[in-house]
Every structure is written in structure tokens, then in C-alpha cells.
């Protein structure tokens, strides 16, 4: 479900004038997708899933259930053995700048400064120089990287590096951002900070997010909708809509009764899968 956009950054013009996306207009569709490294060992079978414009969707599920595979299929890194992956109604043919990807780590360009990393996607876009600079500046402020613009990735902590990675993907405003356990490698405190910033960014930059995680807490805190995948090609086991008080990034949401209720429900469902 789309959230109202905050106006605090309208001056910076990071986003187009916020247009409320049609509530359930599909941006990504998987219809009866089957995939496996070989035909005899499938990872996904006949999976149908729809991602709506602007929503924050999280995939949860036991290891090996195909969460990352779904993400790789949408990104265009893999091709399905059967079925169809579509983006805005068009079949996905390969990687595209309309679908951003944030990896678990190690995807920054070590030879470029923070600023150069973030501005990388703009090399392939025809925007005015001023516009590019402004957008980079805005996103650097949004993720709290001021003062580190000229630093190189090796001079940053793990959390800071992931901030750069998120900013780099988000600044070009993809229609969907695919995140494969992006915060798995950082410590808990840093992780919580990153989650809150991600939610703030999601409010500023229109576009859907598909998030893959093992953590139930992370899923509840971040998502509008959580999809649990079953073991053994079982497909979608459960779907939960999450409604927590706005703004969603308030840390207090983590200790609310509603949050705990969602967590308990999801925990029991995950247990049921085994």
C-alpha cells in the first residue's frame, strides 16, 4: 500500500511530483514461473506472484526455498525455464536500469569515491549536470553520508558501504529495487539504522521494493506485504499485509503490540513450514 509522500524534500526535487500510484497497478508479474539449474532439480515451480507499484514486498522463507532465485529472475540475471516474468506488462529480457539491485555486499566500485559510486548510473542518462549533482547531493544527505563524499569504500564501515550501495541504486529512481539480504552482514544496531533510512528513502523515492530476508523482525518492520514461500516447490505459503502506525520508520514500531502480534503470527507460520 502506498504511503503519503513527505514534502520535506520537494525543494531538492529528488522525486518527480509525487503521483499516487494506482493502488493495485502491477509493476512486476511472475506467471507460472518454473526455474531450476537443471530440469531435474527445480527451485521454483509454477509460481505466480504480482508486485504492485510502490509497494514494499518482502519474501520470507526457509533456506533454499527460492527467494533469491525469484529476485534474480526479476532482475533478468536468470531466464525462467517456463512461464513469464513481466515488468509493466513487457517480458523481462535481461538486466535493466529500470530494475535496481542491491547486493549483500562487495558490489561497490573500490576505485571510485562515494560520490562517484552514487553518480555511476547517471553516466548513462541524459540529465543536465546540475540535475545530476543535485540528486546525488540530496541522496547523500538522506542516507547520512555527508562528509564522506570524497572517501573511498575501503575507508568506510560495513554499514556505510551498504548505505552507498542503496543510495547508488535508488538515485536513478528505478521502478523497482531488488534487495537480496542487503543488511545481513552488518551488526544489529547498524542494521536497525539502515532499515529506518531505507523506509525514509522509500517514502521519498517512488518505486516498489522487493526485499529478501531471513529475519521476521526485519520483514515486519519494513514491509507493506510479506510473502512466505514454502519448502519443496510449494510456492506461496502465506501472504500477510502489514499495517503499522505511520511514519513507518519510527523505532517505536519495533516494540508495539501490533508489531509483536505480526511477529508471533509469522513465527508460527514459519514453524509450520518447518
Amino acid at each position: 500500500m502506498p504511503r503519503p509522500s513527505s514534502t520535506s524534500l520537494s525543494a531538492a526535487n529528488l522525486t518527480e511530483p509525487y503521483v499516487q500510484p494506482a493502488a493495485d497497478k502491477e509493476i512486476i508479474g511472475l506467471s507460472q514461473v518454473t526455474f531450476g539449474y537443471s530440469r531435474k532439480r527445480l527451485v521454483l515451480q509454477d509460481l505466480t506472484l504480482s508486485i504492485r507499484q510502490g509497494e514494499f514486498l518482502t519474501l520470507l522463507g526457509p533456506s533454499g526455498c527460492g527467494k533469491s532465485t525469484i529476485l534474480n529472475l526479476i532482475a533478468g540475471f536468470y531466464k525462467p525455464l517456463a512461464g513469464l516474468v513481466t515488468h509493466g506488462g513487457e517480458p523481462v529480457k535481461g538486466p535493466s536500469e529500470r530494475r535496481g539491485v542491491v547486493f549483500q555486499g562487495n558490489a561497490l566500485f573500490d576505485w571510485m569515491t562515494v560520490e562517484q559510486n552514487i553518480a555511476f548510473g547517471f553516466r548513462f542518462q541524459s540529465l543536465s549536470k546540475l540535475e545530476k549533482q543535485q540528486k546525488v547531493k540530496t541522496i547523500i544527505q538522506l542516507v547520512g553520508l555527508q562528509g564522506s563524499e570524497r572517501k573511498y569504500p575501503y575507508q568506510l564501515s560495513g554499514g556505510m558501504r551498504q548505505r552507498v550501495a542503496v543510495a547508488r541504486s535508488m538515485v536513478v529512481q528505478p521502478e523497482i529495487l531488488l534487495m537480496d539480504e542487503p543488511f545481513a552482514a552488518v551488526d544489529v544496531q547498524t542494521r536497525e539504522g539502515l532499515q529506518e533510512e531505507l523506509l525514509k528513502l522509500h517514502e521519498q523515492v517512488s518505486g516498489a521494493i522487493l526485499f529478501v530476508t531471513h529475519s521476521i523482525e526485519e520483514a515486519v518492520f519494513l514491509s507493506d506485504r510479506i510473502v512466505i514461500l514454502d519448502r519443496n516447490l510449494g510456492g506461496i505459503y502465506d501472504e500477510t499485509l502489514v499495517q503499522l502506525p505511520e511514519p513507518r520508520y519510527t523505532p517505536m514500531n519495533r516494540v508495539s503490540d501490533a508489531f509483536n502480534q505480526y511477529r508471533t503470527d509469522l513465527y508460527l507460520k514459519m514453524k509450520a513450514i518447518g
Binding site: A75, F77, P95, S96, E97, R99, G100, V101, F103, G105, N106, A107, L108, F109, D110, W111, M112, F120, G121, R123, F124, Q125, Y152, P153, Y154, A165, R168, S169, V172, P174
Partner: protein, 288 residues
């Protein structure tokens, strides 16, 4: 008055705390490290100095026949003699420049060729597959084995000398570049692709810089090999170059001039490697 009193107390407290502060015993890790580094440096310098002293003493005392090992002072005298009068009728500078021109022409062109092939072979599986068998066969063959063939094909002049050096260096740079490209984490390439980069941009902004540390390693190895091949190439034919001095001095048992040739090549080899290392540290600053 009251203020002054309280200031005094503050001062007293400060003094007391200073007095009570624990006295550090032993060295902290930083001091230890600095000390160790200093010691290691001294050992590194002491060894060659010791060798030189022993060399000079043994030769001065006549314990070793000058024919086998000339004294250092003898070599130095010979060097100045060659420097002022030239060698075999040619000024020393011409010998040096001839050699350096051969090495650096071959090294420069060889690096470019090796780099291009290495980038393509590293990135495109099919190009790699196409060249794989050929390079695997060529790799273990010492380049010098080809020298007579090269002379047969390209004549006894400058071209075959430069080409044999070029071949040896290019092969090394190519193999290292290829390894560097293959070692580039896949996520970086995919990340670039999802940001809109096409093949050419991926080469320029991702694969090439990612491979740079390997490329520099390859260049350093190639350069030292190139100096080795240079001497061998100049041994064969011609009347110019540091390798020629070595060869000519050997024929006439002029051991002092022989050492002058050897030490000059060592000097230029060390200096150029040092420069290359300096450049490498500047360029690939993100590496350790």
C-alpha cells in the same frame, strides 16, 4: 576569593590524579612495531654492506684471483674508464640508451598487447576458449628457445631483438590481466549492468580498474623478465647495448668490464621496478 579557592582545589585534584596515574610499563604495540620495522630495515641494509666489505677485503688481500672476482675498486675504475672513453669505440651512453630503448619499446608495446588480449580473454568465455590451448602450450616454453627462430624469421637486426622481448612480456601481462578480470566479483559487473552500463562502459569503469592490481603485478614481472631477455638477445648479435658489453667482455676475459655490464643492468632493472612500484601504489591505492 571563593572562586580562587575552588580553582586551587581543581588544580590540586588534577595534580593528584596525575600523580596517581598508572605508570605504563613496557612498550605499546605501536612502539614495538616501529622498533621492529627499524631493526628489519637495518638488517636489510647490513647484509649487502657486509657482502661488499667481504668482497673488497678478500679481493684486496689477493685471497681470490682477480680473474674470478675483480675487486670493487677495480670495477669502479673500469666503469669510469668506460664512461669516459666508451666501450668498443662507442660511448657508454649509446650502449645504455640502445638497451633501454629496446627494453622499453618492447615492454610498452607488449604491455598494451597483453592488456588487450587479457581483458578480452578474461571477459569473453569464447575468446578465452579459442586461445586457451595455444597459450597453455606457449606458456611453459622459455621465450629464449624461440630466439633463433625469430632471427630466422625477422632477420638479425633490431626487430627480432625487440620482438622476442615483446613476446615474453606480453604473454605475462596477458595471463595476469586475464586472472584479474576473472577475479573481479560478479556482483560488481551485475551492479553496473543494472545501473545501465553496457559492455564498453563495463570494461572501462569496472573490469579494467578491478584488474589493475593484477595488471601491475604482471607488468612488474614482465619488466624483470624483459631485462633478462634483453641481455640474451644482445648476446647473440650486434655491437651495441649493455648485453653486448657483457658478451664482448667475456670473450676477452675482461672480467671488470663484464661486472660493469652486469651491475648496470641490475641498476636499471632495480630503478625501473622501483618506479613501477611507485606508480602502482599511486594508481591502485584502494588495495591494502
Amino acid at each position: 576569593m571563593q572562586l580562587k579557592a575552588s580553582q586551587q582545589t581543581a588544580q590540586q585534584i588534577a595534580q593528584q590524579t596525575a600523580a596517581n596515574a598508572p605508570k605504563f610499563k613496557g612498550q605499546d604495540l605501536k612502539t614495538q612495531e616501529l622498533r621492529e620495522r627499524g631493526l628489519l630495515f637495518c638488517v636489510g641494509i647490513a647484509m649487502p654492506v657486509l657482502i661488499l666489505i667481504l668482497w673488497e677485503i678478500t679481493t684486496q688481500q689477493g685471497w681470490i684471483d682477480e680473474l674470478f672476482l675483480p675487486s670493487i675498486s677495480g670495477i669502479v675504475t673500469e666503469f669510469f674508464a668506460i664512461a669516459s672513453k666508451g666501450y668498443a669505440g662507442t660511448p657508454l651512453m649509446s650502449h645504455v640508451l640502445a638497451s633501454l630503448r629496446r627494453v622499453f619499446t618492447a615492454f610498452g608495446v607488449g604491455t598494451l598487447v597483453g592488456l588487450l588480449l587479457g581483458l578480452l580473454m578474461g571477459y569473453y568465455k569464447y575468446i578465452r576458449a579459442a586461445f586457451y590451448v595455444v597459450t597453455e602450450i606457449l606458456r611453459p616454453i622459455p621465450p629464449l628457445a624461440f630466439i633463433t627462430l625469430f632471427i630466422l624469421w625477422f632477420g638479425i637486426g633490431e626487430i627480432s631483438k625487440v620482438l622476442i622481448i615483446l613476446y615474453a612480456g606480453a604473454l605475462i601481462v596477458m595471463l595476469n590481466t586475464m586472472e584479474g578480470v576473472r577475479a573481479c566479483p560478479k556482483q560488481k559487473i551485475l551492479a553496473a549492468r543494472t545501473l545501465g552500463a553496457k559492455d564498453l562502459a563495463i570494461f572501462a569503469y569496472v573490469i579494467f580498474p578491478a584488474a589493475l592490481p593484477y595488471i601491475f603485478t604482471g607488468m612488474r614481472v614482465a619488466l624483470s623478465v624483459d631485462f633478462g631477455i634483453l641481455v640474451a638477445a644482445e648476446l647473440l648479435a650486434g655491437d651495441l647495448g649493455m648485453g653486448y658489453i657483457i658478451q664482448d667482455a667475456s670473450t676477452f676475459f675482461n672480467v671488470e668490464a663484464l661486472f660493469v655490464g652486469i651491475l648496470m643492468i641490475a641498476f636499471f632493472g632495480v630503478v625501473s621496478d622501483f618506479l613501477l612500484r611507485l606508480i602502482s601504489a599511486r594508481v591502485v591505492h584502494w588495495q591494502g
